[in-house]
Symmetry: C3
Subunit: 273 residues, 3 copies
């Protein structure tokens, strides 16, 4: 069995485990993604809870199987909750995902918070090419919260971020995942050009990575979540090319993914770092 | 006419009244449910307004026909609004529904607020089996905001809560409604196993109970709202078995319910307490 | 070429320009509309970002091509962000749209803020008939956030508001747009009676006006956004008469509008003021 087939086998196992365990995933996320990310997690097999206040953050992270922190539309109370939950996750060895939405000099308040959250060692950092490149220390002209760079051009820059996390995931036309464990970059193809046209798909992907982290290693979790989305996006686009129907079809396939579809459609390449 | 047929007749009347009056329903709800609950109320015939700040809470509750309070993702400002609006509702005899999302020792901040809100005598308390059981004084291992108990096993425990409210509603595979007025438990069947897979359906149901409370008695309102959802869920599942399409079909049937469908599909049993 | 044909030609040009420029639009909006407005902007061709905290408001407005401010469910932090962003937009000549949701004596906190925001000269003010009439100084019995008046009865009252903005837009069964530039009222027909049944369509329309303002004059932008929605609503209703499917079809047509559809379905009348 070659390395790619082994990865696909692990993805199938992770998906199966997700259905069995239905892990509780705490999401501190933005107002755009809250409903969508919760539905994606439920469709994929996990149990989401959007607990994002500082007064319940510590006790809730303690009972959660994983945590997802997304800085899309932060409030003061959410910011406090993020710090408490990230710290608690580190202390209790709960896997957690950091999604530094809009990281860069224009959005300084959240970017300072992201810098601070790095000390709690996120299990996975995921973002688009602009965010990851800027977080890796490069100067990037971003356009709001959407990327101006290609994921393929950025993954080499992202290596330095492996000092903070087990995996770095860069989403784009192809997704690239840097894995400390494998000492490699995994390229995942699939999806469709319509996917970034549906708001909060990236945010929901971060939450899904967290869900998978509750049932497998960070590397397999990150690859599995991206593959889950890439297949759903590809199949949805076959069925519908307009945004309303594409969105419905995408949720259908996030829900109806299964081992056969994973084996048939997973499109993964292992690259050297 | 037997008791069940009489109830169905009252549900039809309540539904008709809802279309006629289109009552204004104030919802203080969570970030996951805000859009969904508003669409459910509009589809069902009511007029929703998500006014959830403490500075407008009193004046808005005063002009509202009903109030729905949901503690899914509370903020400090929302908590203040909840207190003010609940107090105002009690003072002005405006019916109001309390949905104690996640009630239990892990989520203490909201649970303390729920305890406090009980003094303003909610018209209806609705929740899943774990929440209602815990609120009734039992020790329950909950899993985030989803239930770990069956609704059928809990309704006997819920009797004590009738000290605070006219009706207690427990949603689950079957729904159980304890009515002070009828001195009985009403069991409502329908829906589908996919319904809890769509996030915020419980929260939206709480808002719909409030809407019906604006046009009929608390008991009929609670039964009517649950029947509305049970029929829509059953018919939607006939049409679509995947989450994206199910969600669309569910909203279609919430919208297109009518007296014929109610008479044909209402599945109600009256149990002794 | 008559005046109406000229307008349609300008709408086509504006739509084309929107696809080319994909302008960054900052939205400070409510919890009900956040996801929906973002999807509408993406479907229509723009690039939305829901930056609504006071700490990043100034720097983000500075790089945005347009700004949309909506007072649906304001928080303290959002209110501060609104002031900062409106002031920044005025200073940097960035077009911005004000949507005074629920304006009136019952909702005083937001209404005071709307009065204050007027000093920063919004490019466009849009609302339903009740909101615009009240903002124009009339006493109106509103029902929550929905209108109790007809748009056709109100546009004469709205003239006084042209002291504050380039355009005043009143949505309803027909939409009416007062233009300072044209010294005329533009009536736009289309849509469907189901459109107000989908929550946040008005809020999303405000955001879409802002998007068009980034690529054309305030008058053309306001007419183009209303026409975009009127056509999508009309075509969606042809395809689906229930709320769930209508909502999906509406998003499909917001996404797939094109010059041919604009020329075929635009229904615009120019009235004297």
């Amino acid at each position: 069995m070659d390395q790619t087939s082994t990865l696909v086998k692990h993805i199938v196992e992770a998906w199966t485990q997700l259905q069995t365990e239905q892990p509780l995933v705490q999401c501190i996320t933005n107002s755009v993604a809250a409903n969508y990310a919760a539905n994606v997690l439920l469709a994929a097999g996990a149990s989401p809870a959007m607990i994002d206040n500082p007064f319940e953050a510590e006790s809730f992270t303690t009972i959660s199987a994983a945590l997802s922190i997304n800085l899309g539309t932060p409030t003061h109370e959410q910011m406090q909750a993020m710090q408490i939950s990230a710290q608690t996750a580190q202390r209790t060895n709960t896997p957690w995902v950091l999604d530094p939405v809009g990281y860069g000099p224009v959005l300084k308040w959240r970017s300072d918070m992201v810098d601070e959250l790095l000390q709690y060692n996120p299990t996975v950092i995921r973002g688009n090419a602009s965010e990851i490149s800027t977080l890796a220390g490069n100067q990037v002209l971003s356009k709001g919260v959407d990327s101006t760079l290609n994921s393929a051009d950025v993954y080499n820059q992202a290596k330095v971020l492996l000092a903070h996390a087990e995996c770095i995931a860069i989403s784009g036309e192809s997704d690239f995942i840097l894995s400390k464990e494998l000492d490699a970059v995994i390229q995942i193809n699939g999806g469709s050009y319509l996917q970034p046209k549906v708001t909060a798909t990236g945010c929901a992907l971060g939450a899904l990575i967290a869900a998978y982290c509750a049932v497998t290693t960070p590397t397999i979790a990150t690859i599995a979540a991206h593959t889950h989305f890439a297949i759903a996006g590809k199949l949805a686009f076959k069925k519908a090319q307009r945004m309303g129907q594409f969105n419905v079809a995408f949720m259908d396939y996030v829900h109806s993914l299964n081992p056969d579809l994973i084996q048939q459609y997973a499109d993964i390449k292992i690259l050297e770092i």
